[in-house]
């Protein structure tokens, strides 16, 4: 056994985060660790990286008791962890990031920059990564930043590599690159713990799957002989019933939003589509196709160069998200942690934030009681799992954070809701709830634009699908016509096949992090 956890427990005031936890990582295997958010995965990570110390039980590495006192100590013993949040310094170069804390030195204090770059180059070449050691990390795309993380983790001569949601920000091709890396890293004396919410990836890369729930060990299953349905059932402790199909108003739909010839300086070219009442309109496309840019242009976050937007037939000009909100259009950003929430504030403040002026003040004074009532109401109707509305949003799981964002826009009573990657970084159980919620909203006559990179999600949820490629709309599909193949066909149409266009700078829009 390479790495083993025996009866590990960890308590926090009022919470038993982990209880009698068992993990067995064999030599040379890739072990999946799955569980809903809050199941205890990140606590386990923090124990293994020495940020917390266990209250009960023990870890063993190669059969010897393992004690970890600090992140550095973990690395020295051969345990490398790639955390979900990137742990990179955006202002430093690739090489400087990889060898941070282990810089080649002369005289103990002076940096050997040339040696540093050479070593990084060697490592990058060995891993076949498309990176330049001297490039500043902040200027890289998310996928490349992920590669830097991996290079850094592997540079420690790791025996155990633990990856927490490594593919959350990657597209399919990039996931392939990552999986190739993992296969190359896997040797008879090493092992990988792979944490992911993407069930189909577990089939592709893992040997066994350990399921945990509510801080406890549930089961370990052999991947090849296990269906993902079984895994999910063990994760959530119940069978997930049926696949929520799109619902909503089906007859006599009115066109709520009509976009014609929308273009922006950066990327969008002549984008046109209609959104109907009670409809979920899916936006599919590869990374950098311009889906998020359409949303940003719609709500006035980006400057529109030409084109018209009409709401229920009436042309409107929207030049800021505040104006969009007045027209009852809400945009739920893909980057909810930075752009959608005040993480340090409580649920209540977040929910009422954008409505305080309109709904919760009289004579210049805020009305805390009304705010609390409305928040409480939404917390229960959206089934937001939080001890109270005074809980700091930072401490909620991803799914519940997303629901808080949704609640915020529901308070404003928006008619049009634009969801950008609504289930990114959210576990399976919570995803189902978000889907159900989207259906409910559509059923109540709200019109929804759903931008998603997960094709199965788009196919399943949308009444109609708009497919984009390189800043243009390349296809409109109804739910019946849409299949993985047809969507991918339109998503990969090159601009020269859809008409002439100047070459927009893609790398600029793809570099989400900066």
């Amino acid at each position: 056994m390479l790495l083993e956890a025996r009866g590990v427990g960890k308590n926090f005031p009022g919470v038993r985060a982990l209880q009698d936890m068992h993990i067995e990582l064999r030599h040379g295997e890739v072990l999946a660790l799955v569980g809903e958010n809050g199941a205890g995965k990140s606590t386990l990570m923090k124990l293994l990286s020495g940020i917390y110390t266990p209250d009960d039980g023990e870890f063993f590495l190669d059969g010897r008791p393992l004690e970890v006192s600090s992140p550095k100590h973990a690395l020295e013993q051969g345990i490398s962890i790639i955390h979900q949040e990137f742990n990179l310094m955006p202002d430093l170069t690739v090489a400087q990031n990889i060898f941070i804390g282990r810089e080649p030195r002369s005289g103990g204090f002076f940096l050997g920059e040339r040696t540093l770059n050479a070593r990084a180059k060697e490592l990058i070449d060995r891993l076949h990564l498309p990176l330049d050691p001297r490039q500043v990390v902040g200027s890289l795309t998310v996928a490349r930043q992920q590669m830097v993380e991996i290079a850094k983790a592997l540079s420690y001569d790791a025996k155990v590599l633990i990856m927490d949601e490594p593919t959350a920000a990657l597209n399919d091709a990039e996931v392939q690159v990552l999986h190739d890396l993992i296969r190359r890293f896997r040797r008879p004396d090493t092992g990988v713990i792979y944490i992911s919410h993407r069930m189909h990836e577990l089939k592709a890369i893992t040997d066994r799957i350990t399921v945990i729930r509510d801080g406890r060990y549930v089961d370990t299953l052999d991947t090849p002989t296990t269906s993902m349905r079984e895994v999910i059932a063990r994760m959530v402790g119940r069978e997930i019933t049926g696949e929520a199909a799109p619902e909503g108003v089906r007859t006599g739909r009115e066109t709520v939003l009509s976009v014609r010839g929308l273009s922006t300086k950066a990327l969008l070219r002549n984008v046109s589509f209609d959104l109907q009442e009670g409809e979920i309109l899916g936006f599919a496309g590869l990374m950098g196709a311009g889906r998020t840019e359409v949303a940003r242009a719609l709500v006035g976050a980006d400057v529109v160069e030409s084109g018209t937007i009409a709401l229920r037939g009436r042309p409107v000009r929207i030049s800021s998200p505040a104006e969009a909100a007045k027209h009852r259009i809400g945009y739920l950003s893909e980057d909810r942690k930075h752009l959608g929430l005040l993480l340090e504030q409580d649920v209540n403040s977040n929910v009422v934030l954008s409505s305080i002026r309109d709904l919760f003040q009289s004579f210049g004074f805020v009305r805390p009681k009304a705010m609390r009532e409305r928040s409480t109401e939404l917390v229960s109707s959206l089934r937001i799992r939080t001890p109270s509305i005074d809980q700091t949003v930072k401490n909620l799981s991803g799914g519940n954070q997303q629901k808080v964002v949704i609640a915020k826009w529901l308070v404003k009573d928006c008619d049009i809701l634009i969801f950008d990657e609504p289930t990114r970084g959210i576990d399976v159980g919570a995803k189902e709830e978000i889907y159900r919620l989207l259906n409910e909203l559509a059923g109540r006559g709200k019109s929804i634009i759903m931008i998603s990179s997960e094709l199965p999600e788009v196919l399943r949820m949308s009444h109609r699908i708009v497919v984009m490629s390189e800043g243009r709309v390349t296809g409109h599909l109804s739910a019946d016509e849409a299949t993985q193949e047809s969507v991918m066909h339109y998503a990969t149409l090159r601009p020269d096949e859809t008409g002439p266009q100047e070459n927009p700078d893609h790398s600029a829009t793809e570099a989400g992090v900066r």
Binding site: P90, D91, F109, L111, P130, D132, V136, S139
Partner: protein
């Protein structure tokens, strides 16, 4: 689109790094260009501006702000701030007076004592920030008041004069360069600036300074003892404060306990004009030196044009706004 090997498409991204370093150079170039423009402007409007005497004068008047700005550059790159450097400087000047004039210690020991005392102030700041976890703004604001009070207490609220120790005054206004009448203070600033540059760019300390400012948590998770380095960085800023205290009292020929307040803001302004980001992670010594020069060229030129002191401050304030605005506009253009 991404393949495991380095494809042609991947290679095309390599120039991006070059472009980016170029952009960063442009920031320094912009600051430098504005310095030249301001300099040229004053040279044209006033015949008394561009001559050896006045240029030396400008450099001379840059020394104190320059030293303070150099030290605080490190702190600001970590994402912190040091408000205690102004009054801390006055306290160190008083300590220097106490050691050399009142106690009669030999000059080098007195000077060293004052500088180390500055280091001690910085150490306390560092401990408060790194160990107790106080926000740098609060920790150093408190230290600013403590230092101001202590300077008055230690000196009995009276200036200490160095007229019995001409060697001390020569540290500033004496000239090592024979016959050139070029003040030592400027040489000291130049040497210290080069040292600071080496420290920031070529040493582990400098690397971790950027790293902490860029992402403190990630730095800690990479196994770096962030607390220790932060303490060291604040201590370093304190040493610069101590040296500034020596240089200002040498220039004035006296340690003035009631001064110092306001210098910290000028120093921070110099750092910011020089392109160092207050949110950490970015900055340079060259930028800071240029920023300090811009401030003293402005002060000097406006004085020569007989613009009243009140208006000088208004103009300086506008320059700071302009510098930061230009920096932000450039970043947004990316």
């Amino acid at each position: 689109m991404t393949s495991p090997t380095v494809t042609e498409e991947e290679r095309q991204t390599a120039p991006a790094s070059v472009r980016r370093t170029l952009r960063d150079r442009i920031q320094q170039f912009l600051a430098f260009a504005s310095l030249i423009v301001i300099f040229g402007f004053f040279s044209m409007v006033s015949p008394n501006f561009f001559n050896y005497g006045n240029v030396t004068n400008i450099l001379f008047s840059t020394v104190v702000i320059g030293l303070l700005a150099l030290g605080t550059t490190f702190v600001i790159i970590t994402g912190g701030i040091d408000l205690s450097i102004g009054t801390g400087m006055a306290l160190c000047a008083v300590i220097s007076g106490v050691l050399i004039v009142n106690t009669g210690l030999p000059l080098p020991i007195g000077v060293l004592g004052a500088i180390l005392f500055g280091g001690l102030l910085g150490l306390v700041n560092g401990l408060n920030v790194a160990v107790l976890g106080l926000p740098p703004f609060i920790a150093t604001l408190a230290m600013m008041l403590v230092a101001q009070g202590l300077a008055l207490v230690v000196s009995n609220s009276t200036p200490i004069y160095f007229d019995q120790t001409p060697g001390y005054i020569d540290l500033s206004i004496g000239s090592l360069v024979p016959g050139a009448n070029f003040p030592n203070a400027v040489l000291i600033l130049a040497v210290v600036a080069v040292l600071a540059g080496v420290l920031l760019n070529k040493t582990v300390l400098g690397r971790y300074t950027y790293s902490i400012g860029s992402n403190e948590e990630a730095t800690a998770l990479s196994g770096i003892d962030v607390r220790r380095w932060k303490i060291l960085i604040y201590t370093l800023a304190g040493l610069f404060t101590g040296l500034a205290g020596v240089m200002i009292s040498a220039r004035l020929g006296s340690a003035q306990p009631a001064t110092g307040m306001g210098y910290e803001l000028q120093a921070i302004a110099a750092v910011v004009i020089g392109g160092t980001s207050l949110s950490g992670g970015k900055g340079s010594i060259v930028g800071t030196v240029i920023g300090a020069l811009i401030i003293s060229v402005l002060n000097n030129g406006l004085q020569i044009m007989s613009i009243p002191q009140e208006w000088q401050n208004v103009i300086l304030g506008c320059v700071i706004l302009l510098a930061v605005y230009a920096d932000m506009a450039r970043k947004r253009a990316r």
